[in-house]
């Protein structure tokens, strides 16, 4: 069988790629499309470094097949900033020192953005539970949560 030809929408733009059935969406984003912002930490759904939005739902791209993207709408970390204008989450991650090595950061930002779209005013506990599927080896989480809470406040205009 020839490779699958997948037509999809990524960060608002039409995109297409070829893949084999067993290739994950994460493999396709990184290796076929050169979108290397989404990271592979574990490839088993445990770390959240590969977090993307698939048809409006937060998912692990390592647990989605590339072929499943046919006709779907995907949003990745590459679509979070508007040109040179960083998203408030990105700004606060920088200002609040919420990253060290940075491998977990794209996943945290995509997941936190989904949280704030779903709940613009989360409690710290809600934010921690929502982000429980995102692991960070470096920061100890407190600075990440602080950045998310500060970004949420800024986005609410508080």
């Amino acid at each position: 069988m020839a490779k699958h030809h997948v037509t999809t929408t990524i960060n608002g733009d039409p995109a297409e790629f070829l893949c084999e059935t067993q290739q994950t969406l994460l493999d396709c984003l990184r290796d076929e499309l050169g979108l290397t912002g989404s990271k592979e930490g574990c490839a088993s759904g445990d770390c959240g470094a590969c977090s993307v939005m698939l048809d409006g739902r937060l998912v692990c791209a390592c647990l989605v097949l590339g072929v499943e993207a046919e006709g779907a709408t995907i949003e990745t970390i590459e679509g979070v900033a508007q040109g040179d204008e960083l998203h408030p989450l990105q700004k606060h991650f920088l200002e609040d020192a919420a990253l060290q090595c940075g491998v977990c950061t794209p996943g945290f930002i995509v997941a936190a953005k989904a949280l704030l779209e779903h709940n613009p005013d989360p409690t710290e506990t809600e934010a921690r539970y929502w982000l429980a599927g995102n692991l960070c080896r470096c920061t100890g989480y407190d600075k990440i949560i602080k950045a998310v809470m500060n970004a949420a406040a800024e986005m609410r205009g508080a």
Partner: protein, 289 residues
């Protein structure tokens, strides 16, 4: 290595045809949160993957005979957002919503949780306690089965080749009844149950228990319906003595594994404790507290 074929049937009939016509072993794909991990690890090497998420029946939740029909591929995030199901069968929704992280919830389904065959699957004891049934399609037509009859052992089901679960049916919630599911994990999130307990019970107008079903996860090769535990509650006011008798029946039903996450003695004791706590929550829900 031969290539893996991929199909996206749009109807149940088409899916049955795909599965029947497969060269090599075919695998159904729902949310993929178990299947992709197994593919990656090389535990499974199917000849064909059939994505069932394009079939409308598998993605719908609707009312039926006073109860609910839930598509087997409906995700935790979708079911969790359904206020009517949550109100009628909070224990079932709790079980499904405990699975994994927000990301996993975006994909994980009841059908996948059941058919993956893990003894620790969180939605399964709640479904069994709820007396849920499955609608199954296969090459010989369709059939209904009780949830407790689907898994036969770790990773194994009684589904025949080419069969798959189309939907689950949650019966009409009787008056003065409630259900609950609890699990014990060593962490607060993202862990596999050391013990899981689902309880569903109904009371008469005097507060006497008329029906009760108790199911345990992670304490035997598959989730078990503990009939004696349910019986211990029927005819009582679900008082402390009845709850202790129920817990004793739960402990008797345990044949757990022994590992660093829980010894046999620990899992057995906790099974009784968790079932009691779940029964208290179900009771409070039944009395509208």
């Amino acid at each position: 290595m031969s290539e893996i074929q991929f199909a996206t049937p749009q109807t149940v009939k088409e899916a049955v045809k795909c599965l029947a016509g497969a060269k090599g072993k075919a695998r159904v794909l729902a949310g993929g949160t178990d299947l992709l991990v197994q593919l990656r690890a090389g535990f499974v090497r199917p000849g064909l993957i059939v994505d069932i998420k394009h079939i409308p029946e598998l993605r719908k939740v609707k009312r039926e005979d006073g109860g609910f029909r839930i598509g087997a591929a409906v995700s935790g995030a979708e079911l969790g957002a359904n206020a009517a199901v949550k109100k009628a069968w909070p224990g079932v929704v709790e079980g499904l919503e405990l699975i994994g992280s927000t990301q996993i919830q975006g994909r994980a389904s009841l059908g996948g949780n059941l058919c993956n065959g893990s003894p620790a699957a969180d939605s399964v004891p709640a479904l069994i306690a709820a007396a849920a049934t499955c609608h199954i399609a296969g090459p010989k037509g369709t059939r209904e089965a009780k949830v407790e009859d689907i898994v036969s052992g770790p990773g194994k089901t009684t589904l025949k080749p080419g069969e798959f679960v189309v939907s689950f049916f949650l019966p009409k919630r009787p008056k003065r009844s409630g259900d609950a599911y609890l699990r014990l994990i060593p962490r607060t999130e993202m862990d596999i149950a050391v013990v899981g307990a689902g309880v569903s019970l109904a009371l008469d107008s005097k507060g006497v228990c008329t029906e009760a079903r108790v199911a345990l996860g992670a304490v035997a090769p598959k989730a078990v319906l503990v009939k004696a535990a349910g019986k211990a509650l029927v005819g009582t006011k679900v008082d402390d003595a009845a709850l202790e008798a129920m817990a004793a029946a739960c402990r008797d039903a345990c044949k757990p594994i022994d590992d660093k996450r829980g010894t046999v003695a620990y899992r057995t004791k906790v099974a009784g404790v968790l079932a009691q706590r779940a029964a208290r929550i179900a009771l409070a829900r039944a009395t509208g507290e």
